[in-house]
Symmetry: C2
Subunit: 236 residues, 2 copies
DNA sequence: GTGATAGGTGAGTAAGTGCTCACTTAACTG
DNA sequence: CAGTTAAGTGAGCACTTACTCACCTATCAC
């Protein structure tokens, strides 16, 4: 679709454009008013409950106990409000800042099974703490191409790069199979985690309840050694 | 949340209520007009592109080359139109009809690796053919509780039941590990498949392009034997 | 023929929608 | 103190939304 060159600089470019168009203030910690906080909280709640199109600015204003015009004073437009909510979250997730705990976990001197269990435990906690925002980002990226592209170009890429570096190392060390390409290994790790999160948040019925520790251990088990039984292993 | 007893009869009950409220005609193949077909096609396209709330009936009417009033003649309301589109699809997916190919594949006398590869190939094809509708169903079920409950009670359950029966058999035969609970095995199988579909449809960039056969084989490999390398296996 | 039924429509309607504007209030700056 | 700036708002704007209604046409049974 787009060429690699275009992708390289697109994130910073895009952020700057968005910041200009929607009046997004990036680094400067310009103190938020009490009302601004309430607006963002209300927006998060209502966007995640009804979706962007289904949420009305009047409903957000009402929940925030604020005049509707106040929203537009600060965020210029409804879409600006969405981006104010979502971009800082994406930035935080995408920078090394949030990937550092991952590396910290993986660099410990422990059996892989334990490392992956800790990794999953950590990421699951992170996602749960930010579930509403993540829901908004994921759903809206399905419908807003610019948001989707920003996610692809920045978030997915940086996660993938960090992962694939470690995977390469581990394959050379013999901790991971070296007959699988990196992207398959990376996707497998993510798939098991995402599968669990989907189950937990959408179909909690199909989970052993109150046994998260055990579930996380099983995830690491399956990821590392698969689900094949003894009979299969003889044949292979 | 809800008790088991309530769940048991909820699907048929719910369908009947929906059918009455929105004038949904279930079995009787009462011939669709040319215009009705066009409306459904347009609705599918626009719902999946903009989401339910983001889609306007006027846009649907325009795409279908039909007067807006015609939509309401046949489907009573916008939500009725959505359900007309979505419920037959769910029903078809949820009934044994669509699960039969799955069993047919799994009952062949072949190595597990091959069976899972065929299974994934088959399901991936199915999802791709119906991607637009599936997208609508998944996204809308996040926002419409009744739809979500219908999915949970009916679709998830019937899939889970079919899967867990086979899994139990295979565990007893030694084809699958018997030290994992059924729901973990089932979730693992689904996770690997869903992970691939997400990658393919949302982040196609991270896929070996034009090598679907190979990708499917890797999925089955990872599912059965995991990603651990030789060093790990010695220790375990 | 008459009547009934169903498909289809143009022209509306009331109730929102996102957003603007003129304005007030309060807090800081010199 | 006056002057500037930012936070905040009530009233209203142009426009869109889902939906209705009276009406037309075509088919078909009697």
């Amino acid at each position: 679709m787009t060429t690699e060159q275009e992708d390289e600089k697109s994130w910073e470019e895009w952020i700057r454009l968005v910041a200009e168009e929607y009046g997004l203030n990036l680094e400067k910690k310009d103190r938020e008013t009490e009302k601004q906080k309430r607006i963002l909280e209300a927006a998060m709640h209502i966007f995640s409950e009804r979706g962007f199109e289904g949420a009305s600015t009047s409903a957000i204003a009402e929940r925030a106990q604020v005049a509707e015009a106040t929203i537009f004073k600060h965020y210029r437009s409804k879409k600006g409000l969405l981006l104010h909510l979502v971009i800082p979250a994406i930035s935080r997730v995408a920078t090394p800042f949030i990937l550092r705990p991952v590396l910290k976990i993986l660099d410990q001197d422990k059996p892989s099974e334990e490392l992956f269990r800790e990794l999953y435990a950590d990421r699951v906690r992170l996602v749960e703490r930010n579930w509403k925002k993540i829901k908004i980002i994921v759903v809206e990226s399905l419908f807003q191409p610019e948001l989707r592209e920003a996610l692809q170009d920045h978030v997915a890429r940086s996660i993938y790069e960090v992962m694939s570096e470690r995977i390469g190392d581990w394959q050379r060390e013999g901790r991971l199979r070296d007959d699988l390409p990196t992207h398959v290994v990376a996707r497998s790790i993510l798939s098991i985690g995402i599968g669990y999160l989907l189950a937990k948040n959408i179909f909690p019925r199909y989970l052993a309840q109150g046994e998260e520790e055990q579930e996380l251990a099983w995830m690491a088990e399956v990821l590392l050694h698969g689900i094949a039984g003894p009979k299969e292993k003889e044949e292979g």
